[in-house]
């Protein structure tokens, strides 16, 4: 059983949903980013998404764009994100790690070598934002042992769902809004209608992302789904602690982890 499947099974047995915080690798520098990653499980992260910086993140709003720019300036890359995963795995062999990013850096790295290095580094799943199922053969043939996490959007029509779900593994990432990351939030009633539509067609866990910002929204998300992904609001916390040059300060790591802790409390209280 993959780490992702094992973690969702464990949480199901405990009767609660998963908190999946996101961090951009190397934002604002490799050391701070690594400290945040290491601290996340202790702060209540059940799975962690690591963003791979890219110059042209067309699905992301200003918050994640800026995180990517800081990360690139600090030397961030796909190789750097993999190195962070290897470091993390020295102390933690259970928390699932998912790489989220765009296809071009993977093509430049070489999809086959990338998948091999993911497996040997301890990556569990991949979310490739600009690789819809129709283009999945760019990476999927090499991805055995890695969960290929597919995105489902509010615009994904019923007749398209089988195409999206075919070849999906790990969990389904429900993009809760038609829009870019961090811009607005989904309505709880929309989610209550959308999630069962997906559940009817797959046994995979469903996580909600894009627009989940507060502990309360995270709680609402896990009431209807199996997990909540939170990115932009955590990056905003991080950005708020940086000095005028964009460098980390003494309080950066702690502030982000406090944010994770508050979200974790929201998620854990959701079904009480």
């Amino acid at each position: 059983m993959s780490r992702i499947a094992a973690r969702f099974a464990k949480l199901k047995a405990e009767g609660r949903g998963a908190l999946m915080p996101f961090l951009e690798a190397y934002d604002p520098d490799p050391t701070t980013s690594m400290a945040i990653l290491r601290g996340m499980p202790g702060a209540g992260a059940d799975l962690i998404e690591i963003g791979v910086p890219f110059t042209d993140p067309a699905a992301d709003g200003p918050t994640v764009q800026k995180a990517g720019q800081r990360a690139l300036k600090a030397g961030g890359s796909l190789a750097g994100a993999l190195a962070m995963v290897r470091d993390f795995r020295r102390d933690d062999d259970e928390t699932p790690l998912v790489l989220m990013g765009y296809l071009n850096p993977i093509i430049a790295y070489g999809p086959e070598r990338f998948c091999e290095d993911c497996r040997s580094s301890g990556v569990d799943g991949l979310i490739i934002v600009d690789m819809p199922p129709e283009e999945a053969d760019e990476v999927q043939p090499y991805a055995h042992g890695l969960d290929m996490i597919r995105l489902v959007a509010p615009t994904t029509l019923e007749n398209r769902l089988p195409t999206v779900l075919n070849g999906a593994s790990g969990f389904i990432y429900y993009v809760s809004i038609t829009g870019i990351t961090g811009t607005r939030s989904a309505d709880a009633t929309d989610l209550a209608a959308a999630i069962p539509r997906i559940r009817a067609m797959t046994d995979l866990p469903v996580a909600i992302g894009f627009g989940v910002r507060t502990p309360q929204q995270a709680a609402e998300a896990v009431r209807v789904a199996d997990g909540a992904v939170v990115a932009s609001s955590l990056i905003e916390i991080l950005a708020g602690t940086l000095d005028s040059e964009g460098r980390a300060t003494k309080g950066t790591v702690r502030a982000v982890l406090d944010g994770v802790r508050a979200l974790a409390e929201g998620v854990r209280s959701a079904r009480e």
């Binding site: 430049a108 819809p132 959007a153 615009t155």
Partner: protein, 405 residues
């Protein structure tokens, strides 16, 4: 629209939107249903004789087609080789080839019931064309333009506003064409239901590369007919500047199966390919995925997209249409490059010898003609796609000549 033969190079793309390995639909899931909607609407429209008839009427009476094929006698005698012909797309309404495909796309948007049209623009030519067509069709228009380009293309910015378009100055990234395209895609994702994205070049997710090419093929179809009428044969060489490559695909495509016609695309070499400050995706880039398609791109070894540089805002893009990448790999089209300086020299030469001020984009193609025509026999024929007029560029050129306006 094309009379493709068996074993033709004009059959692409395949059902996945691929030209060989290039092209495709590399977009976020939120946009996939939209892309498919555009595909279906396009396929229905191109089979509809009424759509074709209305587009042809607008091309004739509103755009002013056919554009002439001008025998550039003074330029020919100056170069001392092949007969130089200019396909005068700069005479089109709005001053460039862009309007050909824009009119058709706005007709499509209207047919699809969309209320709002968005477009990206670099030099501003596509933005002006889109704003123009939206005014004609009474649709709301928002143009995304990099803040850097807004600064260096002020006349076009003002034109777009006069035409009633809303301008969105993009400050993310390097604030140029690629960032304008990112921002337009972001906007589209958030407004999928009522918005049509009018892409200005033969790039982006399928069906755009094919659709924009098909609508631009009017350039090559006319050129072929006009050359046969005047010279009784096809040209030996057809030259066109290439940024995204819509004017080039438009003139090349109808000649793809005429093996005797040599096709030459001219990329922007900026300060020189060896300096790294250029916009030559094929000559100085490698294949990758950006803006919905797989194609040649300017990128570093980590797959991060690099900023393009060209004196011409319309060529200042780190990618190229996927069909060009394929035509390069199969060797049907030769892709060369011209520097900023070569384009500036050609710009001035054409103005003085022919009384035609070419766009800086087109001047890159002309620079290649200036190199090539003298090496060709006197009875041979070289055609340049003069894709746009240079009025918009006079400030840039004056600046480089040390003249303040």
């Amino acid at each position: 629209m094309s009379n493709a033969l068996p074993n033709s190079l004009r059959m692409g793309p395949d059902s996945r939107g691929r030209f060989g390995d290039f092209g495709g639909r590399f977009v976020a899931e939120t946009l996939m249903p939209n892309i498919q909607e555009v595909q279906e609407a396009y396929e229905a429209a191109r089979k509809d004789p009424e759509f074709e008839k209305e587009w042809r009427r607008l091309l004739k009476d509103y755009v002013g087609r056919p554009s002439p094929l001008w025998f550039a006698e003074r330029l020919t005698s100056h170069l001392g080789g092949a007969k130089v012909y200019l396909k005068r797309e700069e005479l089109n309404h709005t001053g460039a080839h862009k309007i050909n495909a824009v009119i058709a796309q706005i007709m499509l948007a209207k047919r699809m019931g969309k209320k709002h049209v968005i477009a990206e623009t670099g030099a501003g030519q596509h933005g002006v064309a889109t704003a123009t067509a939206c005014a004609l069709f009474d649709l709301k228009c928002t143009v995304f333009m990099g803040a850097t380009d807004v600064e260096r293309q002020k006349p076009n910015v003002f034109r777009m506003k006069l035409l009633g378009a809303e301008l969105n100055a993009v400050t993310s990234g390097a604030a140029t064409l690629k960032d304008a395209m990112n921002e337009a895609l972001r906007y589209w994702v958030a407004h999928v239901h009522d918005t049509y994205y009018c892409i200005g070049t033969v790039a982006g997710p399928a069906p755009y590369p094919q659709m924009v090419r098909d609508f631009q093929c009017v350039i090559g179809d006319e050129t072929k007919e006009q050359c046969l009428a005047v010279e009784g044969r096809l040209p030996d060489v057809v030259v066109c500047a290439v940024g995204g490559g819509s004017s080039a695909m438009g003139i090349f495509h109808p000649f793809l199966d005429d093996a005797e016609v040599k096709l030459v695309g001219v990329e922007a070499a900026g300060h020189g390919i060896e300096t790294g400050a250029h916009a030559a995706a094929i000559n100085g880039g490698t294949p990758g995925v950006l803006h919905g398609n797989k194609t040649y791109l300017l990128q570093d070894r980590n797959g991060q997209i690099q900023e393009a540089h060209s004196i011409s805002a319309g060529l200042d893009y780190p990618g190229i249409g996927p069909e060009h990448s394929w035509l390069h790999e199969i060797g049907r089209v030769e892709y060369t490059a011209a520097t900023d300086q070569e384009a500036l020299d050609a710009f001035q030469l054409c103005s003085k010898l022919e009384g035609i001020i070419p766009a800086l984009e087109s001047a890159h193609g002309l620079a290649e003609v200036i190199k090539r025509a003298p090496t060709m026999p006197k009875d041979s024929i070289i055609v340049l796609n003069l894709s746009g007029r240079g009025d918009k560029d006079i400030f840039t050129v004056a600046h480089h000549m040390g003249v303040s306006l």
